[in-house]
């Protein structure tokens, strides 16, 4: 059997995760805060994101984080817990959350990196606590898998005959 799909956020977790991200944005002055899986899927995105292609950002950050994990291994470290990418006017701060997710904060040059770092650390700790709770699949019944597969399959046929 193939592995079960992974539930990355339940409906009742949404508010708590969004609260943590909103607090990070408010206290650090970041433009936005985005939580992604280490495979590059977006869990939650808050703040000003209209200028961003979030799917592309999540994919690229996950890829670069995975690459730096290999760099860490080469120098005898398990992983790097923080990545910082500095631009001319906008910067990206990335921190590891519980080894399975990444928290991205995008902020402008007018904000202080120390403040972003401090609140990103707090947010990552808060998110790690939330994400360590095992997920009972209470929402599972919302998705009727057999029906989903049938619709998806016919959509695939339709897309490639367009």
């Amino acid at each position: 059997m193939s592995p079960l799909s992974k539930v990355i956020m339940l409906s009742d977790e949404r508010e708590r995760i969004e609260d943590v991200l909103d607090t990070l944005i408010e206290k650090s002055g970041s433009l936005c805060a985005i939580l992604i899986t280490k495979d590059g899927h977006t869990i939650s995105a808050r703040g000003t994101t209209s200028f961003l292609n979030i799917t592309a950002l999540a994919t690229l950050v996950a890829g670069s984080f995975a690459a730096t994990r290999q760099v860490a291994a080469l120098i005898g470290e398990k992983e790097f817990s923080i990545l910082f990418q500095q631009g001319a006017s906008r910067h990206v701060h990335i921190s590891l959350v519980a080894g399975t997710a990444m928290l991205i904060a995008v902020f402008e040059d007018s904000q202080r990196i120390g403040l972003v770092r401090l609140h990103a650390k707090r947010a990552a700790d808060g998110l790690a606590a939330l994400m360590s709770v095992s997920r009972e699949r209470t929402d599972r019944e919302e998705l009727i898998v057999a029906q989903f597969k049938e619709f998806a399959s016919s959509l695939i046929d339709r897309i490639f005959s367009e």
């Binding site: 899927h41 890829g63 995975a66 029906q147 989903f148 619709f151 959509l155 897309i159």
Partner: protein, 192 residues
């Protein structure tokens, strides 16, 4: 591994195109991208060298649409084929729900196909991904070239007895959509 986000109502799958250098993995993605309407695709990202060889990966999200209220999306990736990018190949395979192996049909590339497939299986195993539970689809590309192997030879080299396979000329689009359609359906059939 497919992911379900019940809060934002999204379901995502990951498909990776693997194979030796210059076998046509990026060409597959670019052709697909050109055939899809704008509402079906996100931005195509290519991370390549100055010589236009894939350095890390190519990627685009294929939007299937909304099913039972869930936005459903396939993330399509290629790996870099050049021998010295082994570490990058392994990274990209992480979490794959399905794999397409693009073989180069030219007889001169026979050892490269075999070596690349061996590496793919080894890299899959390092993540606990087993062919079968994770569907593998083979594509025998460049069927328009001179000096190509027979399909039987490629079958024998690449253990094709257990996997769906397609002949292709990716530069002209032949076989490209059949391949992706098949791997997507194989992935869906295993969705739980």
């Amino acid at each position: 591994m497919s992911t379900i986000n019940f809060a934002t109502r999204e379901i995502n799958f990951k498909i990776v195109y693997y194979g030796p250098g210059m076998s046509g993995k990026t060409t597959n993605l670019v052709y697909m991208y050109s055939r899809l309407t704008d509402d079906r695709k996100g931005q195509l990202i290519t991370l390549d060298t100055e010589q236009e060889r894939t350095l890390f990966f190519d990627f685009f999200p294929l939007e299937l649409g909304e099913i039972q209220g869930f936005k459903t999306r396939f993330h399509l990736y290629t790996v870099p084929g050049q021998v010295y990018y082994e570490a990058s190949r392994r990274i990209v395979l992480s979490g794959a729900d399905g794999v397409v192996f693009v073989a180069d049909s030219q007889a001169s590339r026979r050892p490269d196909n075999v070596e690349s497939l061996r590496g793919m299986l080894e890299n899959m195993a390092s993540y606990g991904l087993q062919p079968g539970p994770v569907p593998v689809v083979l594509q025998y590309n460049k069927r328009d070239m001179d000096g190509i192997l027979t399909v039987e030879d490629l079958d024998a080299d690449l253990r094709a007895d257990s996997w769906p396979r397609f002949a292709s000329v990716a530069t002209q689009g032949a076989g490209v959509l059949d391949t992706v359609r098949t791997v997507m359906k194989e992935v869906l059939s295993r969705f739980e």
